[in-house]
């Protein structure tokens, strides 16, 4: 099997602008009282398999 290769680094201005927006969204969640732990647990619920 051919080994995957690292993607070359190609970062654009829109990538960094998007990154700033995402960081801001996280900061807003924290301001509204969510903790990083709660955010982590919310993300976990999305992949939960109910049996």
């Amino acid at each position: 099997m051919k080994k995957k290769e690292r993607a070359p680094i190609h970062v654009t201005l829109s990538d960094v602008e998007r990154a700033y927006k995402k960081v801001e969204e996280f900061r807003r969640l924290i301001e509204r009282g969510k903790t990083p732990e709660q955010i982590f647990k919310d993300l976990l619920k999305l992949i939960q398999v109910d049996k």
Partner: protein
């Protein structure tokens, strides 16, 4: 439920005195970043095959099973619980092994769940052999969200250690573009912090934390 799988793995690891960290996308909230992901990745610091087998036996008692027969020199194995599965890594990244300093720097995220130091976590993203655009996006967000928390000298040391300083510089270039166009001071601060860390640019790769501390002193004196 899925949370219980993670907590149980960390509980068993703590009982066995095995340093263990959450890695991959689910560790991102520990660094003030979040995105959806499907994979639970946990990394354990195991020193012997016996220790690994004992860990697997202890998980089995709590109904967390693997269909594999993992060996100490493998990268990872998969475990299955009632409500989900997780990949258990034997090294933080497929491109490098644990070392004593990395273990020393792990810290508590919450309860018994630990994560790598942010600098080492960045390295797991940058160094992975199948690095993707998502990893680069994660690194950008981590740098923005943690610019004042990152130990830039340690990060610079690690980039040299793994030989990826040039790749990291390519990522940083975008902050120059952003500062020129948008004038965000955070972008300028990130660039300045990295420039300051270049004082260690002649640091040689070192094997352990004592050597690292000595290198630091040598560079400053």
């Amino acid at each position: 439920m899925t949370n219980e799988l993670i907590n149980t793995i960390f509980d068993v690891a703590a009982h066995c005195k095995i340093p263990t960290v959450l890695i991959g996308g689910f560790a991102l909230p520990a660094y003030n970043v979040a995105r959806t992901t499907l994979d639970i990745d946990i990394c354990i610091y195991i020193k012997s095959q016996d220790e690994l087998e004992q860990f697997i036996e202890d998980l089995k008692v709590l109904n967390i099973l693997t269909k594999q027969k993992p060996k100490i020199n493998q990268d990872l194995f998969t475990v299955f619980g009632k409500f989900g599965e997780a990949e258990v890594w034997l090294k933080p990244c497929d491109s490098f092994q644990w070392d004593a300093q990395m273990v020393e720097k792990i810290y508590k995220f919450y309860a018994n769940v630990f994560v790598l130091a942010v600098e080492d976590y960045i390295l797991t993203k940058l160094a992975r052999s199948d690095r993707s655009a998502t990893d680069i996006s994660d690194i950008l967000q981590i740098l923005i969200a943690n610019k004042d928390k990152i130990d830039w000298q340690y990060l610079f040391f690690r980039l040299n250690w793994i030989g990826l300083e040039n790749d990291f510089r390519e990522i940083l270039k975008v902050f120059t573009l952003d500062f020129d166009k948008n004038g965000r001071t955070i972008s300028e601060e990130i660039l300045n912090k990295f420039k300051m860390s270049k004082i260690l640019k002649n640091s040689k790769p070192v094997e352990n934390s004592n050597d690292y501390q000595k290198n630091l002193r040598d560079e400053w004196e």
